[in-house]
């Protein structure tokens, strides 16, 4: 059974602006956010069959809700994030505490290297892709490939709105890929095209890419994604996936959606 880490949005809100989606003037509706988050947990547990674990929310850390950025976990090892923006660096010790308490072997990257966890490192079984330039440093992937003994292909992210890899790239359990090509530089687009055959790749239409269609959670043959992405859902159905659209627009105000709100623990 797939296990995911989540954090309730008790202190979620827009308290600073560190990506183009965030506007302090465009404040979130706390009640709506809590309802949307609750719906997401119910879909994941009841419809998809995921086992959820929760960490304690912390005041003044509004983005702790985005647990995808806690770090990366694989094979009993946890590499915690080292955030680029000081606004989020306060989250690091809470994530490390949680990993330690749960018995993961915590391995820190060298100091001074920025890395924002599963937000920027996603994988297929035989190779992983690491987004760099916006938040994570390319140098992080040299150390991560040694730690996890994995091939990690760095890809350059070129659109500030899609600042993490998981905002524009979603590998699926059957080896397919949802992605939003304009977020990648031409070299990265060439690499993705050479690694994943065309019929397995779906370039989400711009309207849906901007709705964070790629910020989806895929578990077995289920895909949980934000609402408002009909073309992406139609393609997923053709591939034999069951889709579970969830309204998450309160979180989009902070530049996140379904995937950002979860961290895969296995």
């Amino acid at each position: 059974m797939s296990r995911l880490l989540m954090c309730p949005p008790d202190y979620f809100g827009i308290e600073y602006e560190i990506n183009p989606w965030m506007r302090v003037s465009n404040q979130t509706n706390g009640e709506r956010a809590r309802t949307q988050w609750k719906t997401l947990t119910q879909v994941l547990e009841n419809e998809v069959g995921a086992k959820l674990e929760f960490m304690e929310p912390v005041p003044k850390l509004p983005d702790l809700v985005f647990t995808a950025n806690a770090g990366v976990i694989h094979g009993g090892k946890a590499v915690p994030s080292q955030f680029r923006h000081p606004e989020r660096q306060g989250e690091e010790r809470y994530f490390i505490d949680w990993f330690t308490k749960k018995g993961y072997e915590v391995i820190n990257l060298n100091p001074g290297i920025h890395f924002e966890g599963a937000g920027d490192l996603l994988g297929f079984p035989d190779f992983w892709i690491g987004g760099y330039r916006q938040r994570s440093d390319i140098r992080a992937y040299v150390q991560l490939s040694e730690i996890f003994q994995k091939e990690i292909m760095p890809v350059e992210l070129v659109d500030q709105r899609f600042y993490h890899l998981d905002t524009c790239f979603c590998p699926l359990s059957g080896g397919e890929l949802l992605y939003f090509p304009p977020c990648f530089d031409s070299y990265a687009q060439t690499v993705l095209a050479s690694r994943i055959e065309q019929k397995k790749r779906f370039a989400v239409p711009p309207r849906e890419g901007e709705r964070f269609a790629c910020n989806a959670v895929c578990i077995d043959r289920h895909v949980v994604l934000p609402t408002g992405c009909p073309e992406t859902m139609a393609w997923l159905h053709k591939q034999g996936y069951t889709t579970h659209p969830v309204e998450l627009d309160e979180f989009l105000k902070a530049g996140g959606s379904a995937k950002c709100l979860t961290l895969a623990l296995d």
């Binding site: 760099y132 040299v142 490939s145 040694e146 091939e151 760095p154 350059e156 070299y187």
Partner: protein, 412 residues
């Protein structure tokens, strides 16, 4: 040109990160040399590359570095070289840096200094005020000279692929008796003509070096070589006592080591001819005197004197005489040869193991070199030096010279 070394590591090949970095360097107006690439053997292994970036200005170099650093390129930490004083005349410090024949720089007080005239198997001497560096042989180092030790703060530049698309441009460094010779000889002639033309037009002072052995005379290549020299295609000649002695023997007696070159038979008392030749030249004091005084009227030596070719004659323990021009102290001979190397733009090493290998050792890797010998071991030895611009031809020296002379316009 400002040079900076950077390293890059990771899954840089399949991800096209290395390609992107190299593209960026070129697009911004720099050039690069990949001085080292280690490719991971297993899928999860990372690869590693060292890139030497060259830029015309410091500003451009900074711009290039700023552009490529986000892609993982890291400026190599640079340190000054270490030096130690030579403990005695002719003795190098224990850990001296042994040179290669590739372009070399040392770093001193934060600046990279060129070490001129690269030559293999020497040491590097540092002079501190003003800072400069020279390659120095073991024998010529003086007590207290500062000699570079270890490998820190020394960098070597790989040979650039030549612009010319001729036989040297392929950088194959192969030796085979089964390769067709004709196009190789045509390319050698083309290079000689180009140097000749540049000198004539005052556009260059490049020199063609010829190192040869006496087999050239014995096998019948004398006439062709004399024509090539007389026509102004050769500017430096390295040889021993024998080539000069037998050439002048041919001029005086028509024989080479007693064999009549016209009829191909030994003549009575012919074995004395070269001794009598040497004796007569010794009496006159020099080869130049022998030519200018009218004793030697034609041949290789006569052509060299008339054309002002710089000659270095190096002696060996089997020499007869020797001729007065022969330098019998082999270390002094090596120094005289070394002094004649700067400016050499093409080297022809023909039919002499001793002089071909000695000359090969003195030449920078950047000098296109053709080695001609009937014995494949000689060109092989030369190409094993690691110079990609050394072309080996396994053929008779006389045939080579005749064909080369004809390519250059000889009607003989």
């Amino acid at each position: 040109m400002i040079v900076q070394s950077v390293t890059i590591q990771g899954h840089i090949i399949d991800s096209l990160i290395l390609a992107k970095v190299l593209d960026d360097i070129v697009m911004l107006g720099g050039t690069f040399t990949l001085s080292e690439v280690t490719v991971g053997t297993r899928r999860e292994d990372t690869s590693h590359a060292t890139i030497l970036i060259e830029a015309p200005t410091m500003e451009l170099l900074q711009e290039i570095l700023k552009t490529i650093q986000p892609h993982g390129a890291v400026v190599e930490t640079e340190e000054d070289c270490t030096v130690e004083p030579a403990p005695a005349d002719g003795i190098l410090p224990e850990d001296f840096y042994a040179t290669s024949h590739l372009a070399t720089q040392i770093r001193w007080q934060g600046n990279w200094i060129d070490v001129p005239q690269p030559e293999m198997d020497l040491a590097i001497r540092l002079k501190t005020s003003p800072p400069s560096a020279q390659m120095v042989s073991m024998g010529s180092v003086k007590k207290g000279d500062l000699v570079v030790t270890g490998r820190k703060g020394v960098r070597v530049f790989p040979l650039e692929r030549p612009k010319e698309r001729d036989v040297f441009g392929f950088m194959e460094a192969q030796v085979s008796s089964e390769r067709p010779h004709r196009h190789i000889i045509a390319d050698v002639a083309k290079r000689m003509k180009a140097i000749h033309q540049q000198r004539k037009e005052g556009k260059g002072s490049g020199k063609v070096l010829f190192a040869g052995g006496p087999a050239i005379i014995h096998a019948g290549g004398r006439e062709a070589l004399a024509w090539i020299i007389e026509a102004g295609y050769i500017h430096v000649l390295f040889c021993g006592n024998a080539l000069a002695a037998h050439d002048m023997e041919a001029s005086l007696y028509g024989t080479s080591l007693g064999y009549n070159l016209g009829i191909g038979r030994s003549v009575p008392h012919g074995h004395e001819h070269h001794l009598r030749t040497i004796n007569r030249v010794r009496a006159l004091g020099s080869i130049q005197q022998a030519v200018k005084g009218g004793l030697i009227k034609e041949g290789i030596m006569a052509a060299c004197v008339r054309q002002g070719v710089q000659m270095v004659l190096a002696g060996t323990i089997r020499d007869d005489g020797p001729l007065p021009d022969v330098i019998t102290d082999s270390i002094k001979a090596q120094e005289a040869m070394r002094a004649a190397i700067p400016g050499v733009g093409l080297a022809l090493l023909v039919a002499s193991t001793l002089h071909a290998v000695a000359t090969g050792n003195l030449l920078p890797a950047s000098v296109p070199t053709v080695c001609v010998d009937i014995n494949p071991a000689v060109p092989t030895k030369l190409s094993d030096r690691g110079s990609f611009q050394a072309v080996g031809l396994v053929m008779d020296s006389s045939s080579f010279l005749w064909e080369l002379a004809r390519e250059l316009g000889w009607k003989g």
